[in-house]
């Protein structure tokens, strides 16, 4: 037979099974959320890293104008070099099965069976690609839409074109997500390139670095030193190095994105745990207030403080265990499904779904530890009450005293005595009242914040869209005569205006950097690589929001040419100030510019100038059209492709103004759904808590309700009082939630902006959601009151009067 203390624990839980079920459900939901996140995070981070390391990732990657296999041998001889590999990267476009041209990154490898670094693996179809065959990176197949053995048409930025057979798919783990980037990765042999009429040479040199003397992998600082020395060596040997990139040791290129995603999820999981802790606190407080006389009796029978505490702690452990029993297997199952869903998106293979022991331990600790922690204060308080305080009728704490807050409300609202009583009732147990209002207010704040963030992200897209007055941009491989180009493009249907621009790579030379820092800077020591766009002085094609300073002026008499930089430049060079002179290296020359403004855009570090007024020869054209709708611009882009085929003009790419926004929109959509899902979970847990608290509030006053009935209160009067209480709590929580949501939205907008577009979002509030959440908040409290209200209204007066 079980010890009676255990029996009491079990039967107490069983007796209030409705409440217990709510708590179990909330614990289960919070541990489920945490479990899914931790399980999937542990699998993803381990498998992503393992799969990435299997590819023997490059440490330093150099982009060099042109080199042959001879250089590989020479670099291999360098003292710090471990392994060297090379490939050719060609930019171009590929025609999807839907007939749309998409950006193409085409890799040319000499020997597919002897790849030393960034190892490409066979996936489906044949391997390696033979003459006139192309392999497509497995994730890019959805972008291309082609099947194995289908013919695909492609063009390179150098003007080469070919129709190749898609022989199979390959797995290149280190590349950015093809679907998100809306790009196709293709792999061909040197023979195929020759057949296309292209010259065979390399332009990417990949190097891994030897381990240090104590057999440890070199850190980023050591790799920077090696990269710098290698760069100098390459320059000394007359190789034109355009830039180099250092990969953080062993870190997958997606590690920061997944890390950020999991960070948001972990924050939500912690919030779920806090809410379920509040729920447990409320349940235990309510149970204990009901059990006070039992505690007194048990003490009178010889129970010690510890024995009484243990009875209730065991109850909490029991609820925690039941919650975990529900959540842990489910969390494991959903995490596996979640990982399987993310796996193709993140483009890596999974070898094992093994969950590390620490993840299970954390779930157990949270599933039992947090409820125990939440129950600690009420159990400690109740178990230390004396018999006199719990059992005897003449204790001194039964008198009710109102607060200044209540007096104020009642005074200014002129409520009827019944409504005043309802308000006083809600404030009776102040601790519970504060917790109920806080939980509901937090849920309201979170719901509003989610919609504020959606509005903020929509606004960021709208601003990005509005910042482009052009509809389509055509970028050529090299400078072309604008007169000829305009003549050709003017004939394209729906085109309204044309404007030349020139875009090139440039580098801002950081004059603020000291010698010591030069070593640790990521990009070529003391230079920040940027995209320079040279516009017409009177150009109105760009309309980006100005963060600081002003846009370019038409004034040609200025002492120095003007430059405007994007916020990404400031992120890397925060010392730059408006009015400052900046040295910019472009086309081998260093020119002094005056920084006049900082603009906000989504994307990489960019700078804009109109210093070179002569754009009679340029490498880009902005086109405006009759309509800038998505479909019109897509049609215009297709018309331009047709024209390019007919007129045989070579271009690097053709972009519509929607293209970059579409990619960002997809990212934002994922974030919105994720936030919404987590908000719904939190609101569900919070609603459980509120329902429980409202139930406890009403049931605790059953005897008083009996008295009210006895002195003539009709059921309708009682219902009014209960509804008044629900409306009061709902309204108050909404008011608090509206205030709390402001800093909450600001913080989320700040971090989400940094995560998604590398700059904080400018928060835009959604006024309607503030209005909509008021009825939601009141509905939650009102619905929560319905069941207990019905119960006590049906209860006969006699029964209500003797209710304990």
């Amino acid at each position: 037979m079980l010890n009676t203390l255990w029996l009491k624990t079990w039967r107490d839980v069983w007796q209030s099974r409705g409440r217990s079920a709510l708590v179990v459900l909330s614990i289960a939901l919070s541990t489920f959320t945490l479990g899914v996140i931790l399980n999937s995070y542990s699998i993803l981070s381990r498998e992503m890293s393992n799969d990435f390391l299997k590819s023997n990732p490059t440490a330093i990657s150099f982009n060099i104008e042109k080199f042959s296999a001879e250089l590989i041998e020479k670099v291999q001889q360098q003292p710090a070099t471990e392994q060297v590999d090379a490939r050719r990267l060609i930019f171009g476009e590929i025609k999807t099965i839907a007939g749309e041209w998409k950006p193409l990154l085409l890799f040319v490898l000499n020997d597919y069976n002897d790849i030393k670094l960034d190892i490409l693996r066979a996936d489906q179809g044949s391997w390696p690609p033979q003459k006139d065959q192309i392999l497509i990176e497995r994730q890019a197949v959805t972008v291309l839409g082609a099947d194995i053995n289908e013919k695909v048409q492609l063009k390179t930025s150098a003007g080469l074109s070919a129709t190749l057979t898609m022989a199979g798919t390959a797995h290149d783990v280190g590349l950015a997500q093809a679907e998100w980037e809306n790009v196709v990765y293709g792999y061909i042999s040197a023979q195929t390139l020759m057949n296309m009429g292209g010259e065979v040479y390399f332009n990417q040199l990949k190097v891994s670095v030897k381990k240090t003397a104590n057999e440890q992998s070199p850190n980023k600082q050591q790799m920077s030193l090696v990269a710098r020395e290698l760069k100098l060596w390459l320059i000394d040997n007359h190789y034109q190095v355009s830039n180099f990139k250092i990969a953080p040791p062993g870190e997958h290129p997606h590690a920061n994105i997944t890390g950020g995603m999991f960070m948001i999820q972990k924050v939500f999981a912690v919030l779920c745990c806090i809410l379920s802790a509040v729920l447990v606190f409320n349940l235990i407080s309510a149970t204990l207030s009901k059990h006070l006389s039992q505690i007194g009796v048990m003490k009178s029978l010889g129970a010690s403080i510890n024995q009484i505490s243990h009875i209730y702690y065991r109850g909490v452990i029991l609820l925690g265990l039941m919650g975990m029993l529900l959540s842990m297997p489910l969390a494991l199952y959903v995490a596996t499904w979640y990982v399987d869903m993310l796996m193709p998106m993140m483009n890596f293979n999974i070898e094992s779904y093994h969950i590390p022991f620490w993840v299970l331990v954390v779930q157990v600790v949270v599933g039992i530890g947090i409820p125990l922690l939440a129950a600690f204060v009420p159990i400690k308080r109740a178990s230390r009450l004396t018999i006199r305080e719990t059992l005897l009728e003449y204790n001194e704490h039964t008198e009710y005293q109102d607060t200044a807050f209540e007096r104020l409300i009642v005074k200014f609202t002129h409520f009827s005595p019944a409504t005043s009583l309802a308000i006083r009732n809600s404030l009776r147990n102040r601790e519970r009242f504060i917790l109920t209002v806080s939980v509901l207010a937090f849920s309201v704040a979170l719901l509003i914040a989610t919609f504020n963030i959606t509005r903020t992200m929509d606004n960021a897209i709208a601003v990005e869209q509005a910042s482009k007055n052009w509809g389509v941009e055509v970028k050529f491989k090299q400078n072309v005569s604008m007169k000829k180009t305009f003549n050709m493009l003017n004939g394209v249907k729906n085109t309204t205006s044309l404007e030349a621009f020139s875009r090139s790579r440039a580098a801002i030379i950081d004059d603020h950097i000291d010698a010591g820092e030069q070593v640790t800077k990521n990009l070529e020591s003391h230079k920040l690589l940027v995209t320079l766009t040279n516009l017409q002085p009177t150009s109105s094609m760009l309309n980006m929001p100005i963060i600081n300073g002003r846009w370019l002026s038409n004034d040609n008499s200025a002492e120095l040419p003007e430059v405007v930089v994007s916020q990404m430049v400031i992120k890397h060079m925060p010392e730059l100030t408006i009015g400052e002179s900046v040295n910019i290296e472009t086309k081998g020359k260093v020119v002094l510019f005056k920084l006049v403004g900082i603009v906000r855009n989504i994307g990489s570090a960019s700078i804009y100038t109109s210093s070179n007024a002569n754009l009679s020869k340029a490498n880009g054209v902005y086109i405006t059209a009759n309509s800038h709708s998505k479909s019109s611009l897509k049609q215009l882009k297709n018309d331009l492709y047709k024209l390019a085929e007919q007129q045989d003009f070579a271009f690097s790419y053709i972009n519509t103004a929607w293209q970059s926004v579409d990619v960002v929109e997809d990212h934002f959509e994922i974030v919105f759904y994720l936030m919404m899902l987590l908000t719904i979970i939190i609101i569900f847990i919070a609603s459980n808590g509120i329902m429980l608290t409202m139930m406890t509030n009403i049931i605790e006053r059953t005897r008083e309700t009996g008295v009210l009935k006895a002195i003539g209160a009709a059921n309708s009067e009682l219902a009014k009082m209960i509804f008044a209480e629900a409306v009061f709590i709902g309204f108050l929580a909404w008011c608090v939630g509206c205030i709390v949501t402001l800093p909450l939205s600001l913080v989320v907008a700040y971090f989400l902006g940094i995560l998604l577009i590398q700059t904080p979002f400018e928060l835009v509030l959604n006024p309607l959601i503030f209005v909509y959440t008021l009825p939601i908040s009141i509905a939650v409290t009102t619905i929560a009151s319905l069941i207990p209200m019905q119960k006590i209204m049906k209860m006969p007066v006699r029964e209500a009067l003797i209710h304990e």
Binding site: T4, K8, Q15, K299, L301, G302, T386, R388
Partner: protein, 239 residues
């Protein structure tokens, strides 16, 4: 005879925001082993407060209480609870059975708390105690289905669980009809006959018939102490 409870100069007063009122004034009382003491008095006279102070449930404002030579006036609440479980059996007016435990489990509960009785003997002892109060048939029932008299008999059995020398009962028949009350008084008499010291607080003048001594409390003071039952006339006179 051995003194089992000694109270010296017991006073108890309460403070509210507006006033202070005294419940007990300077009570000196000796209870001997094997006594059956009835404490009677009007509602609000202080008799329950006196019983609570004797059991250690309440602390006197001044004075000392010795139970079995132990000074319980200055014991910590937790120690006192444990000590009480082993030395005093308490019976309440409203029975105070734990609703989620069966009759038998309610009796085992104090044994589980105090660990005086070995674990393997608790169940059989509880069954014997139930037999003593005539409720073996109800052993596995929950208190909610018992009548008032049955509940009080279970409460008495529970008070005997750890075999204490002293039984203190506060209005044990206050919630019962006269016939049932008589069976409860009979039970206390039997226990007293078996050597237990019984102190009983009651409104019911009948309780005096069973007790060896009667203490009449009026306005917080002992008005009369007698070794025989007081007549109704005497009670009225003392009041």
């Amino acid at each position: 005879m051995k003194k089992i409870i000694t109270s010296t100069g017991i006073s108890k007063s309460y403070h509210t925001q507006e006033q202070q009122f005294s419940v007990l004034n300077n009570i000196d009382l000796n209870i001997y082993q094997g006594d059956f003491v009835s404490i009677i008095g009007k509602s609000g006279s202080g008799k329950s407060t006196l019983l609570n102070i004797l059991s250690g449930i309440d602390q006197p404002t001044s004075g000392q209480v010795l139970v079995n030579c132990t000074d319980i006036s200055h014991m910590s609440a937790n120690k006192l609870d444990i000590w009480r479980g082993k030395n005093i059996g308490l019976v309440f007016q409203f029975f105070q059975l734990i609703p989620t435990l069966t009759v038998l489990e309610n009796i085992i509960l104090p044994m589980d708390f105090c660990q005086v009785i070995p674990a393997n003997k608790r169940r059989s002892r509880a069954e014997k105690l139930l037999a003593k109060v005539g409720l073996v048939a109800k052993a596995n029932k929950f208190p909610s289905i018992l009548s008032g008299g049955e509940k009080q008999r279970v409460a008495i059995a529970r008070a005997l669980a750890n075999d204490p020398d002293i039984i203190l009962a506060d209005e044990p028949t206050g919630n019962l009809d006269s016939i049932t009350a008589k069976t409860i008084f009979d039970l206390f008499s039997q226990l007293n006959a078996q050597g237990k010291t019984v102190v009983l607080v009651s409104h019911d003048p009948d309780c005096q018939k069973y007790s060896s001594r009667t203490i009449h409390i009026v306005d917080g003071e002992i008005k009369h102490m007698s070794s025989r039952p007081l007549s109704t006339k005497e009670v009225r006179e003392h009041a």
